[in-house]
């Protein structure tokens, strides 16, 4: 029965994929306009030591503690990057490179030292997650969506990701005007009394929250791709900030669905038996979307 199989095996990973994609793409729009596109890259590397330390402290794979550790590592790294940039007068990209490689190296070293046998915690998992594994065992069909008993068995990642997405949507909608003004002309925004330092910190922290929440379910590589590719593709499709953000959301959701389907069913169509990594495929599809926009997008060229 197609419906039952789909609901229990594919619905939840697909929904999580969509939530992750949109939660990353929304702040990604402002990050690329502010020349901070690689912050997503940096964040997804630096959370590794935080997660390992969280694991060492809790002693088990406890999502809450590990997420707190990841968030702490992200904030610490952003402070370190700003410190190196300002006090050391080093260009932002290089400062970022110093910090995120060091944090990642620290994470790998800690992981090798920690006894993680028997728990699902290794570098590969951190990189490409396990989206396919988030199945809904209690579901027996579409009716399960209305069945409280079955709903109680939903993977915890889904409600968590929905919550994070709602927070990010609220942030984007409520602070839309200041975000747009700050991204266009930070100095002028400051003379109008906008707290631009706090606002840009909030943007980075929220990006970190999205990355950390997504990280556990889907791994870091998809997070980096979703921060950059959908907004970048959308930038080449339109010249209005509002429509850019909307287009990026649509592209993000579409790539999540198409990527998941291609990874799960694509190999079957060409006669292979095993499926391929869903996270990797979603990143690949987002790259295809960007390539199409870069070749045919109506606003792909610089004006001057």
């Amino acid at each position: 029965m197609m419906g039952m199989e789909f609901v229990s095996l594919s619905l939840v990973p697909m929904l999580i994929g969509i939530c992750v994609a949109i939660a990353c793409a929304l702040p990604g729009n402002f990050l690329i306009l502010r020349g901070q596109a690689l912050i997503g890259d940096a964040i997804s590397h630096v959370v590794l030591p935080g997660i390992v330390v969280g694991f060492l402290v809790a002693g088990t794979v406890s999502s809450t503690v590990m997420m707190l550790g990841a968030a702490a590592a992200a904030v610490l790294s952003m402070v370190a990057i700003e410190t190196i940039r300002r006090l050391g007068r080093i260009e932002a990209g290089a400062a970022m490179g110093v910090v995120f490689t060091t944090m990642f190296a620290l994470g790998v070293l800690l992981l090798e030292q920690a006894d993680t046998s028997g728990v699902h915690l290794d570098v590969e998992h951190a990189l490409y997650g396990n989206l396919e594994g988030l199945i809904w065992l209690d579901a027996i069909g579409w009716d399960s969506l209305l069945d409280p008993v079955a709903l109680a068995g939903l993977p915890a990642e889904l409600p968590r990701m929905v919550l994070v997405l709602l927070v990010i949507v609220a942030f984007t909608v409520i602070l839309w005007r200041p975000l747009a003004m700050m991204s266009f002309d930070e100095g002028h925004a400051r003379t109008l009394g906008l707290r631009t330092t706090a606002l840009s910190a909030a943007l980075v922290i929220l990006s970190a929250v999205a990355a950390v929440a997504a990280f556990d379910a889907v791994g870091s590589i998809i997070v980096i791709a979703m921060f950059i590719c959908p907004p970048a593709a959308a930038r080449l499709m339109t010249n209005r900030l509002g429509s850019q953000v909307l287009v990026s959301v649509v592209i993000a959701a579409l790539t999540a669905v198409v990527g998941y389907v291609l990874a799960g069913y694509g190999p079957l169509w060409i006669g292979q038996t095993a499926s391929v990594s869903a996270a990797g495929m979603i990143a690949t599809v987002s790259g295809v979307a960007l390539a199409l926009a870069a070749i045919w997008g109506p606003h792909r060229r610089r004006v001057r």
Binding site: G187, T238, L241, Q244
Partner: protein
């Protein structure tokens, strides 16, 4: 003259600066500058390249942090006077490839009226269009900002400042790299502002137009060399002090000496 005293706030100068020092690394860009701007008049900040003109403006507005000094607007600290101040930054300070239209940029000037979630109503749109009309840009409202020429970009920035309905306008090199038509349009608007009783301060680099455009002048060369009405301050010997004998400036000053 004590800063805590606010009794004279009603008649206080639009901008009063005491001993402001700004440094980049260990080199003062502006050293211990004092400045008192007269209400309802146009004041130029003039000085050689690297004299700290733009830095002074940015420090006054809190965009860069001064090492020392006190600033008051209308007798109030900056945070209490923001509604009365409008700033026009250098054109080159932003990415003109940003995805937005001319009218949206002007509406950004109304942020303090609109607030976070206030809806943009027809009245706001009309007001923004009126500001664009004042600078002669009404036909460009729906244009993408990247398609504008340099002069047009400068006029959009001025329109955004007009939308703020401020009492004090601070402009950073408003005439730099603009065409003659734009220069004429901008100075026309600035003079209108002064006639309405508003105050204008502009960083200015073209000595030849100072007497024609401005009422007062502040000569800056890291330190304030002189401050006062154009007739008494914009004179060859003070200009020599500000510029030294720098290449080119000599001739300009010489030519001025004949006209003034």
């Amino acid at each position: 003259m004590v800063p805590e005293d606010r009794s004279g706030a009603a008649t206080a100068a639009p901008l009063e600066v005491h001993g402001i020092t700004v440094t980049y690394g260990e080199k003062p860009a502006v050293f211990s500058a004092d400045m008192t701007v007269r209400a309802g008049e146009l004041t130029a900040i003039v000085g050689p390249n690297g004299a700290g003109k733009s830095t002074l403006l940015k420090a006054v507005l809190g965009i860069v942090m001064p090492l020392a000094g006190q600033v008051q607007f209308f007798g109030l600290p900056l945070d209490k006077a923001r509604d009365r101040i409008a700033y026009v930054p250098q054109r080159a300070s932003v990415d003109w490839d940003f995805p937005t239209r001319v009218i949206d940029v002007v509406l950004m000037g109304m942020y303090r009226q609109l607030g976070l979630l206030g809806r943009v109503r027809q009245a706001h749109r009309d007001a923004a269009l009126h500001c664009l009309t004042r600078v002669g840009m009404q036909d460009f409202a729906e244009r993408q900002i990247g398609q504008l020429s340099g002069g047009q970009q400068q006029r959009v920035f001025l329109a955004r400042a007009l939308a703020q309905q401020a009492d004090l306008y601070l402009l950073d090199e408003p005439f730099a790299g603009v065409d003659a038509a734009t220069e004429k349009a901008i100075i026309g608007v600035l003079k209108e502002l002064a006639e309405e009783g508003r105050t204008v301060v502009a960083v200015h680099h073209d000595l030849s137009t100072v007497p024609e455009y401005f009422d007062n002048v502040l000569l800056l060369a890291t330190q304030v060399i002189a401050e006062g009405p154009v007739s008494t301050t914009f004179v060859p010997e003070l200009l020599h002090k500000a510029y030294g004998g720098r290449l080119g400036a000599g001739q300009v000053i010489g030519a001025l000496a004949e006209t003034v």
